[in-house]
């Protein structure tokens, strides 16, 4: 097609795209246009007068053909030209950016490697592109992967980079060549960019400088047959003994809908194994895998699908993640307004959980309290906390059947702030004095709750009472808090086996943004509205949860529940663990990435608050970083100014392994708090994921900068195309267009058409 175009128009299409069209006839064009008009008029007049035996239609067609021919003639007399800016040979530079990442070593379908094209095209003297480019331009070579730097020859390429960062590569080349006339950049890559930085950030300066980018895509657009274990997301830290529910995304090409196992393991043992059915080609399927982490420390969790016969890439069958399993004892305050069995059975359910301390403040009579599982004799000595410092010591708060009027307004506001400011978890349990029946409507706590409270129903002196059978919603089936420690797929069965509970707070609606995990079906067979049994929402920095039944202990005690059944224990352990999950400390530290390459810059971010969780900007914060070999660095962490309470420092780990980070925040003479974190320094396999050639990215890169996209087998015109790009030091050339073959052929066509028409119509 391109050859035909070039035959008809003499020049390639890019010349017409880049060039300007003009007429070179001397003087004004008006006389020529006047002559054209006279000739056209006389032609029309001739056909009008000399009628003969022709019809009016015949005369219109013949006049039109003749006028078109005359018009083409006049067009040629006007001397049309094409003005093209072409670079001055050897006075312009071209930057050649070569992808040096691991994915360049992947094999193509024909058995060659992606990197083979580099050798073939850019080897000095013999390379197919090298010759064409070096004849016209001064070449500068760059390699890019995690970083981008200039190289003197192909020998410096290692194809071992663990990331492909296109934007950074473009920036580096543009900056390096900023002082020279730049005709364009040539990027040779598979386009498998795996950096989060928006490409636009790198494109804007190039567009402003008028530097076109010519991209050469290498590799296959589809890697087949292959299975890829895609995204796996785990929390950075969990409490020891927690059960995680992890979504694993699996995509395949060429393996049909076969079933494969996913194995989850840590350093010492297999944690879980799940068999999944693969979806159609290219369609990801999501597998939900649950497993328990019961050993304290930094744990390396690997997800793996065994390599299938004939797979193109083995490395993308596994994913690795790290989880900091914390063995701390999390303190939860449970305030119960009336003695009832929920207290006893909740305490029993978690008494063997060494990571949970359920402190109970039980009101046994008016102004009379029983304290259980307190740390010392002073804890809660004056009843429910009256200061934020006292309340914020707990990571979660459970409110049982207690009326809102028990609390002062300040205490109610404090409970709301406990969730929104401190980031604690709040669990509200059903009972005679809970929710609307406890007068919580209109209090600061009401809007914290995930459910909509309505005025109590007047259903007699005993109030509302209903028995509901509990079942998980679709969202609940996917939530770790309501899995009941059941085998995958057996969760619904387990819920079906549990006896019904009773509710005295009719709640059927949740707030916008809240999620229902459990709902209740009234056993009377008449009521159709479903009771919201368990719902939650994020509120500020924390989470609030509503559990509306009054007697979950029946799941333990009921005659239909076997003695050995652990549903009740599992439910409460998971519930309370969920309640404290992710609750922030006053002082906390984390790295912006959980795993980095050696030498990669890491951003250490600390948030510093006082005991009332007000952000502190004048603290002295120090991070002590211990390398795997034991080298200790003390880094001052500075306030960012932009964000209250946020402190940042950057550093570059050099060793492979785990870096321990201990952070201490001091204000005046007092220590505000300490925190620890772990940074994992290891090589990444990211290059093996989504590693098919990303033509769309390379095409966009070229289109938005005025360049062109090529595949590796179609680069012959690249040097000339750069010459015509107009960038750099250029000469303006004028090319006549009157002698284009396409004009001559069109004239012949018009004359032939008229002659043929006359013959057909018998007008000769």
């Amino acid at each position: 097609m391109d050859a035909l175009f070039e035959f008809l128009f003499t020049y390639r299409d890019i010349a017409f795209q880049q060039g300007d069209f003009a007429f070179a006839a001397p003087g004004s064009l008006r006389p020529l246009l006047g002559i054209a008009a006279v000739l056209a008029a006389s032609a029309v007049a001739t056909y009008t007068i000399a009628r003969g035996k022709s019809s009016i239609t015949d005369r219109i067609i013949m006049a039109s053909l003749r006028v078109a021919l005359l018009g083409l003639l006049v067009f040629c007399l006007m001397q049309p030209i094409l003005r093209i800016s072409t670079v001055v040979p050897q006075q312009n530079f071209v930057g050649v950016l070569i992808d040096d990442s691991r994915s360049m070593s992947l094999e193509n379908e024909d058995g060659t490697q992606r990197r083979d094209f580099i050798e073939e095209a850019f080897t000095p003297a013999t390379g197919s592109l090298f010759e064409g480019l070096s004849d016209r331009f001064v070449l500068r070579f760059f390699r890019f992967s995690d970083v981008a730097d200039r190289i003197d020859g192909l020998g410096e390429l290692t194809y071992d980079g663990t990331h492909t960062n296109v934007a950074r590569a473009l920036d580096a080349a543009r900056e390096d060549l900023a002082g020279v006339p730049l005709a364009g950049l040539v990027m040779v890559s598979d386009g498998a960019d795996n950096d989060d930085r928006p490409l636009t950030e790198a494109l804007v300066p190039l567009q402003a400088a008028g530097v076109p980018v010519f991209t050469v895509g290498v590799g296959d657009e589809a890697v087949e047959p292959d299975i890829e274990l895609g995204r796996v997301e785990l929390p950075r830290a969990v409490l020891e003994g927690s059960t995680l529910m992890v979504d694993v995304v699996v995509t395949q090409y060429g393996f049909g809908q076969r079933t494969v196992p996913i194995v989850v393991s840590d350093e010492t043992s297999i944690l879980a194994e799940e068999v999944i059915a693969l979806g159609p080609d290219g369609e990801p399927v999501v597998a939900r895998i649950g497993f328990e982490l019961d050993r304290e420390g930094s744990r390396r969790i690997e997800f793996q699908i065994p390599t299938q016969s004939g797979e193109r890439i083995e490395e993308n069958n596994r994913r690795t993640a790290w989880v900091d399993v914390r063995g701390e004892r999390e303190k939860i305050l449970y305030y119960e307004g009336e003695p009832r069995f929920e207290v006893k059975f909740m305490r029993r359910a978690v008494e063997d959980d060494e990571n949970l301390q359920l402190v109970v403040l039980q009101r046994t009579a008016e102004s009379k309290f029983l304290r259980l599982s307190v740390s010392d004799s002073t804890e809660l000595a004056f009843g429910f906390p009256t200061t934020r410092e006292e309340l914020y010591r707990y990571r979660a708060l459970v409110l049982g059947s207690v009326e809102a009027s028990f609390f002062t307004f300040d205490q109610l506001q404090m409970i709301a702030d406990f969730v929104s400011v401190r980031g604690g978890g709040l669990l509200f349990i059903g009972g005679h004095s809970a929710f609307a029946e406890g007068g919580w409507i209109g209090t600061p706590v009401e809007e914290v709750l995930p459910v909509v409270l309505t005025e109590p129903q007047g259903t007699g002196p005993q109030g509302y009472f209903a028995e509901v059978r509990v079942e998980p919603t679709p969202a609940g089936l996917a939530h770790p808090a309501v899995q009941l420690d059941a085998e995958s797929g057996a969760v619904t069965t387990r819920w079906d086996s549990l006896p019904p509970l009773t509710v005295v707070n009719p709640i059927t609606r949740i707030r916008p943004g809240a999620t229902t995990l459990l709902e209740g079906i009234n056993t009377d067979g008449i009521t159709t509205d479903r009771q919201v049994v368990l719902a939650f929402q994020r509120y500020g920095r924390g989470t609030s949860i509503a559990l509306t039944p009054q007697d979950t202990w029946l799941w333990q005690m009921h005659a239909d529940v076997p003695l050995e059944d652990q549903s009740h224990e599992s439910f409460w352990q998971q519930m309370l663990r969920w309640l404290v999950d992710g609750v922030p400390e006053a002082v906390s530290v984390a790295t912006d990435q959980e795993r980095v390459e050696p030498g990669e810059t890491v951003r250490l971010v600390a948030t510093i608050s006082d005991s009332t969780y007000l952000e502190v900007n004048d603290a002295i914060v120090t991070a002590t970083v211990t390398s795997p070999s034991g080298v200790i660095d003390e880094l001052p962490v500075d306030w960012t100014v932009e964000e209250d309470g946020e402190y940042v420092v950057e550093f570059r780990p050099r060793e492979m392994g785990d870096y321990e980070i201990d952070l201490e925040a001091i204000r005046g003479d007092a220590t505000l708090g300490i925190d620890q974190s772990v940074l994992h320094v290891a090589r990444s396999d990211e290059e093996y994921f989504s590693s098919a050639r990303r033509t769309s990215l390379l095409q966009r890169l070229a289109d938005e900068t005025g360049g062109r996209f090529y595949t590796s087998d179609n680069t012959t015109t690249l040097p000339e195309d750069i010459s015509l790009s107009g960038a750099g030091v250029t000469l303006t050339e004028e090319h006549d267009l009157w002698d284009l073959p396409v004009i001559f052929l069109t004239m012949l066509l018009l004359m032939g058409a008229e002659w043929g028409f006359r013959r057909i119509r018998g007008l000769v």
């Binding site: 307004g337 009336e338 003695p339 009832r340 069995f341 207290v343 006893k344 059975f345 305490r347 029993r348 008494e351 301390q357 109970v360 039980q362 009101r363 046994t364 009579a365 008016e366 102004s367 009379k368 309290f369 029983l370 304290r371 259980l372 599982s373 307190v374 740390s375 004799s377 000595a381 004056f382 009843g383 059947s401 005679h432 005993q462 009472f465 009773t502 005295v504 009054q550 007697d551 202990w553 029946l554 333990q556 005690m557 009921h558 005659a559 239909d560 529940v561 003695l563």
Partner: protein, 294 residues
């Protein structure tokens, strides 16, 4: 290691309980069923309800069948109910077929004691309960498992079948709490221990000391100050702890050589000194609060 502690923040001053009890129980008597009062002492206050149930229990309870819904008391509503265990005084074991005439052994002091106690519990604590009536179940009743606190008397004459014993074990292991009252002498204690051992073979009956949380869960009680209403044996407190660990929960609380329900039944009649009746009520309140929180 559990770090449980129970401390009273503020007690009810003096014994307002005394005044409350007198006033309340006067009202209670007027509402009570016209039970056949058989006189002061250990005699069973048989009622038509009690007789009905006792006659039903003439047949051995070998299945989970309910006796009759109308005699079991108010239906489950999530609140605390006083649950009395009915049983057939057997011929086997150390017991006998009832040592007294005129009523079932399980029904001693029933129902006045139960109602009086519920009235006191309702007035002195925040516990949501019903004052209308107590519930009566056998260990074979499924409904019993919706009431984790139960009360049994005259265990010296308790002679459960193997099936019942299994249910006792299940009830207690799941989280149930059993109050044992109204018996005296080593022979009856031995009978109780024998059957509890059948139900909980791995657990032992052991003395409950005065520092146990159960004596401090609501009122501060000095057990030595509790005087039995009659009988020639010194009062003693025994219990069965989970895992035989005294720091864990009490599953069974035994008032040996004592009869707190006797005080409850007649506290409004003036037969017993008010102070003694108070101690009996305090024990009951403490047991219930303890069992709801431990």
């Amino acid at each position: 290691m559990k770090t449980a502690s129970a401390r009273r923040i503020r007690g009810l001053g003096g014994f307002a309980l005394t005044v409350v009890a007198s006033a309340l129980l006067t009202a209670t008597v007027t509402h009570a069923d016209s039970g056949r009062f058989t006189g002061l002492g250990h005699g069973p206050a048989s009622t038509s309800l009690g007789d009905h149930y006792a006659s039903y229990l003439g047949a051995a309870p070998t299945s989970r069948a309910h006796a009759s819904q109308d005699i079991q008391g108010p239906p489950y509503d999530g609140d605390y109910h006083f649950v009395r265990i009915a049983f057939q005084a057997g011929r086997r074991g150390f017991g006998g077929f009832g040592r007294r005439r005129g009523g079932a052994m399980w029904a001693h002091d029933y129902p006045r004691a139960d109602r009086n106690f519920l009235a006191i519990l309702d007035e002195t604590t925040n516990i949501s309960t019903t004052r209308a009536a107590s519930n009566v179940y056998t260990f074979m009743d499924d409904e019993l498992f919706r009431h984790p606190i139960s009360y049994i008397v005259e265990p010296g004459y308790w002679n459960p079948s193997d099936e019942e014993v299994e249910r006792v074990g299940e009830y207690l292991r799941k989280g149930g709490f059993l109050m044992v009252d109204d018996f005296r002498g080593p022979r009856e204690l031995d009978n109780l221990e024998f059957h509890l051992k059948r139900a909980l073979p791995e657990l032992d009956m052991q003395a409950v000391t005065e520092v146990d949380e159960i004596f401090d869960s609501f009122f501060r009680i000095v057990p030595q100050d509790v005087v039995p209403p009659y009988g020639g044996y010194p009062p003693a407190w025994y219990g069965i702890y989970e895992d035989n660990d005294v720091t864990k929960r009490l599953m069974v609380m035994i008032n040996a050589n004592n009869d707190m329900a006797e005080y409850w039944e007649f506290s409004d009649y003036g037969y017993y000194p008010i102070d003694l009746a108070n101690e009996a009520y305090k024990l009951g309140v403490n047991y219930v609060v303890y069992a709801m929180t431990h």
